[in-house]
Symmetry: C2
């Protein structure tokens, strides 16, 4: 069951002027399931994205990268679930391009103005005819208030839809940032997560939007892991429609830049944490914070070693303060000159280990009390610098094995 | 249940002239459990070892390294289960040294001639008084034929004891290589595995023995993973008693060197595979072979990415030929310039993927047939060189979660 996460109230999701969304049933995997989403963007929208670094990147990821380089300007996105169109070779690229051509044709755009996305099973041909046949219904459904339905339509093994909004006032003018995301397994993003779409009506230059995206992704989707598996389809798209008239935010010299960047980051952090809270089989949500490192990279390396360890994750599932497993993960994380005698480890506010061993003040009952909660903070101090990093993860339960053993049946 | 692994017939384990073994109950974790092992070595034995690279290495590992540098010559080993004496700081070092001093005293050696080993729970003080109190009984039990009992005594979550022997004829003279090992969780060795002891009666120089150990460990214990967690206590010890008189094997110029190296390697490969076959919750045994790489390192990196992936391991548990997960792991293994269109993937003898997608000849029924077996070969060809590497691993089952969630209860 998702950890402290419920379906967002549709009324809390602010439409973004310049964006319309439409949903349809293509019957890709199951009949009657809403599995195709179309987003139409106002002319002049700036669109930027980051994508998986998996060498087996999916066909739609390759096509997205091509089209984002196109000068024509992105005008629509199309997403299908039930099939990832990954590990599908040249034939997969052809099918992704066919989908773009069909949507471009129906909307009066060029194929290079469409971004395609797919999520689902890998290594099987995308049933492109079904996707194309569903496009007219999705187009007929296009409306500004469909954000909750869109979040629902892109789910795969997700239990809860993930979406959130922020309102930002800049120079006395109100703008909106709304985003949604999906993903609950094969989650260990490297530059982005499964699928996530964030849009604002503020007018932003492409360069400024790229900078905001990089900042926000590094503080959000690049800080989570469910199972350490980096997907073939990870995509995170940031859209600025500029549909609300105002002077364009050109760069970080504009005082509105920081305000917008923080709002986008907040939305992405909430979506990234929602993905972990709804991680496959998750029963606990953990924040792993590593401080006192020489640089952020080594802090993140150690935080991820803890967050990925099956032994740590099963101990959290069991609410067992088996803290030796955390220390072991710190030790094998690959930081060669780590002095373990300087390391301190806290579980919540309880000091657990110091001077290379268990803290004299530590009482197992206190550790057990912290572990019993559904949200657990782990803090490690390396004692060798001022850098820090935070990673969010979930536990490893029977249900993780069950979900992934039965995924295709 | 262990995969194709049963308790070795004690009659199949050849005693090694120059080695005696004795077992006793110290009651460290459970009363009545045989949990202390003493090995006494003939004077003049050469002893070499490799140890965990975990920065949080256990106190006995630190003491072993000190004593192996000692000039006095190792004459005895002492192993306890039930407590790892890891994450125990200076107090842990004191307790490891106390154990050595007590055994040295009882046997008439110096403390620096003893190697101590511990395995079990981390971060708890070693009940050193119990260990010391059990030494007289272990010493009274010392005999050459105790190898099967020794393998039994060092088990923790192991279901089956792991030991094997080889007889080697060199220059018309017969010698013996016998070894035993333990380990079934926190298994992702980096230089060695949990605990393993291999002895021969051949006379070998320290330098030649070091070279044989390095070769054999790299082809055996450094090729396995159960859960990707590198233990704090990994130790692999190779002993040459020289108790059977013959000219000393000084280096690889001696024609007997290769014969002995191959026999030691065979013993270590069998023990390493036994650890995987008895991996926590294991129901399947997989050999992951990556060929056609530029160097062995990149082949091993990709093989380990596959072998460590929770998604791959749960698919094997389910006997589900979800081969996209294997391709995804190849893609995120971190080999940046991999051309996925050149990769081929076989499951057993069935070609599954080529040219970046599913092989046209592939039939899911054939993949399912291979996956149904308890032993599965995965072969990946990278198409960019002649190097190769092999890694052995097991699947990820409900029981892995159960065993590790309940380990301390």
């Amino acid at each position: 069951m998702p950890v402290n996460l419920s379906t967002p109230d549709p009324a809390s999701l602010s439409p973004v002027p310049g964006v319309e969304l439409g949903i349809a049933c293509a019957g890709i995997k199951k009949p009657g399931r809403k599995d195709v989403l179309v987003m139409r963007l106002a002319a002049g929208s700036e669109v930027v994205g980051v994508f998986t670094q998996n060498r087996f990147c999916a066909a739609p990821v390759t096509v997205c990268k091509e089209h984002l380089h196109d000068e024509a300007g992105i005008r629509a996105l199309v997403v299908n679930t039930g099939n990832a169109n990954a590990g599908t070779g040249d034939d997969g690229l052809r099918r992704a391009r066919q989908t773009c051509a069909a949507l471009a044709d129906a909307l009066g755009f060029k194929p290079g103005q469409i971004l395609p996305f797919s999520t689902g099973v890998i290594l099987e041909p995308l049933p492109v005819d079904k996707v194309i046949a569903a496009l007219p219904a999705a187009i007929a459904d296009l409306k500004p208030a469909n954000w909750g339905e869109a979040a629902q339509a892109i789910m795969t093994t997700d239990i809860v839809a993930k979406a959130t909004s922020r309102k930002v006032a800049m120079n006395g003018q109100d703008f909106v940032v709304t985003g949604f995301a999906k993903g609950s397994g094969m989650i260990h993003p490297n530059m982005a997560t499964m699928l996530s779409y964030i849009a604002t009506d503020a007018p932003v230059s492409c360069e400024a939007l790229e900078a905001i995206l990089r900042h926000a992704v590094n503080s959000s989707f690049n800080c989570i892991t469910v199972d350490g598996d980096t997907s073939t389809n990870d995509s995170c798209i940031l859209i600025a429609t500029g549909a609300t008239p105002a002077p364009v935010i050109m760069d970080d010299g504009d005082p509105r830049y920081g305000t917008l960047r923080d709002a986008v980051t907040e939305v992405m952090v909430q979506l990234a944490q929602a993905i972990v809270r709804d991680g496959e089989g998750a029963t606990k949500f953990m924040e792993i914070r590593v401080e006192g490192g020489r640089d952020e990279a080594e802090c993140k390396q150690i935080a991820y070693a803890i967050a990925r360890s099956p032994l740590v994750k099963t101990a959290f599932f069991a609410s067992d303060p088996n803290l030796g497993r955390i220390l072991a993960a710190v030790g094998y994380a690959g930081v060669a000159d780590l002095d373990v005698d300087r390391i301190k480890l806290w579980l919540g506010n309880v000091l657990v280990a110091e001077n290379g061993g268990r803290a004299p003040s530590y009482q197992e009952a206190e550790g057990a009390r912290v572990m019993a909660a559904p949200e657990i903070n782990v803090r490690v101090h390396l004692g060798r610098g001022d850098a820090l990093a935070t990673v969010w993860t979930c536990d490893f339960s029977y249900d993780y094995v069950k979900i992934n053993a039965e995924y295709r049946t």
